[in-house]
Symmetry: C2
Subunit: 209 residues, 2 copies
DNA sequence: ATAATTCTTGATCAAACGGTCAAGGGCAGC
DNA sequence: GCTGCCCTTGACCGTTTGATCAAGAATTAT
């Protein structure tokens, strides 16, 4: 039997470490340049590794990209998952919005990675969008709907409310260049969070009789 | 004197027509694949033109991209420009939001073109962002502020309100793949517009004493 | 009509890029 | 310390891609 492209069978510490280094470097490069704009050489350079060595761990450029997306997809849903049907609606929504704003601030690169992927038709995560994401949003829309039915929240289309929350919170990560240019300075995360909470939540309070 | 790269001196009908064809094709390709992902061959094919002929009108790929951005940048500001200080605040904002929603629906490709450019650091339109855009937003923020001071609008940070309007309205163009996947169908523009107006405006009404 | 200019393209080039190969270095288990 | 597998890399390959060139076709001006 010829020596055809031996791949590691077990998972060593070196593998774990190097894969992590590669994914870290890849997030930098892919989020800055997109899938097509990024080059394997750039990622290898940033991971301080030769290109063939990088391709020893991920055979194809696409494999790095997919691994990177999968590596962060479930984290992305976590805040929404935590929306508690038993909690106070405005408190729960405020917590969700705050969590999303903090994610945008803490990890803008991941946000831009997703934004770029979706912007270009989401070829790699179509199943995620139509599966787990759709499922979760349907579930949480139900929760919001029940709050409205119970008179604890002003009537609003739950789906579009969730879209609005996503749009506004991720805007600060994805379009930070524009935000900073318009403000003429680095945007202040605390001030942005406060403003966003007001804008999105004030209209949702039920009027007291 | 050698025959160095003769370029047309006058503007003929053929030039106007072909440049238009090229920009139209380029919008398709750039908005779908980004600057780096788009190829000159793709644009030439879509414009039904040989590659050298396309490069006769635009010497470099980047020139097409820049021309395309400039060609649509001023249109982009128009709805905001029309925000009338003398009008009723809620009516004016509703008109602005509706106009932006209609732009997202009518021309999602242009929206994605800008989104992609900004997402990748806006290397080509930095001056536009820090110049005309910043200037206009400052001016209109002043208008909103004066409405608030006059007690005609609930207090809100004008800059972040404008960001929120941009974010939400453009979301339906830029992330339409995700919106459709989550809804499980093509999103209905009328329903989206109604929902967005409610979400963004309800919290801005001043409470009647 | 004819000359001048604009328009068009097949062929080609050089650089960039994703990916392969063969060979050597290094580490674990015996 | 020897054996076998894992790890690493310089050199290389085929393709893609942005851009050029030279030469001919079409259009315009006189």
């Amino acid at each position: 039997m010829p020596h055809t492209k031996a791949k590691p069978v077990v998972n060593t510490r070196i593998q774990a470490r190097n894969k992590e280094l590669i994914l870290e470097a890849a997030l930098d490069v892919f989020s800055a340049s997109g899938f097509r704009g990024a080059t394997v050489d750039q990622i290898a350079a940033k991971a301080e590794m030769s290109k063939p060595n990088l391709l020893y761990y991920f055979r194809r450029k696409e494999d790095i990209y997919v691994a990177l997306l999968e590596h962060t997809l479930s984290d992305w849903l976590e805040p929404l998952r935590e929306l508690d049907p038993a909690g106070d609606p405005l408190t729960e929504l405020a917590r969700y919005i705050s969590a999303k704003m903090q994610m945008s601030e803490a990890n803008p690169k991941a946000s831009r990675l997703f934004a770029n992927e979706i912007l270009h038709g989401a070829p790699m995560i179509e199943k995620f969008l139509k599966g787990p994401l759709r499922q979760l949003v349907a579930e949480k829309s139900q929760v919001i709907q029940s709050w409205i039915a119970a008179g604890k929240l002003a009537p609003v289309d739950p789906y579009h409310l969730i879209f609005a929350i996503w749009a506004v919170t991720q805007h600060y990560a994805d379009f930070s260049v524009q935000v900073d240019a318009v403000l003429g300075r680095r945007e202040d995360p605390k001030a942005a969070q406060k403003a966003v909470l007001e804008i999105l939540l004030r209209g949702l309070q039920v009027k007291q009789p």
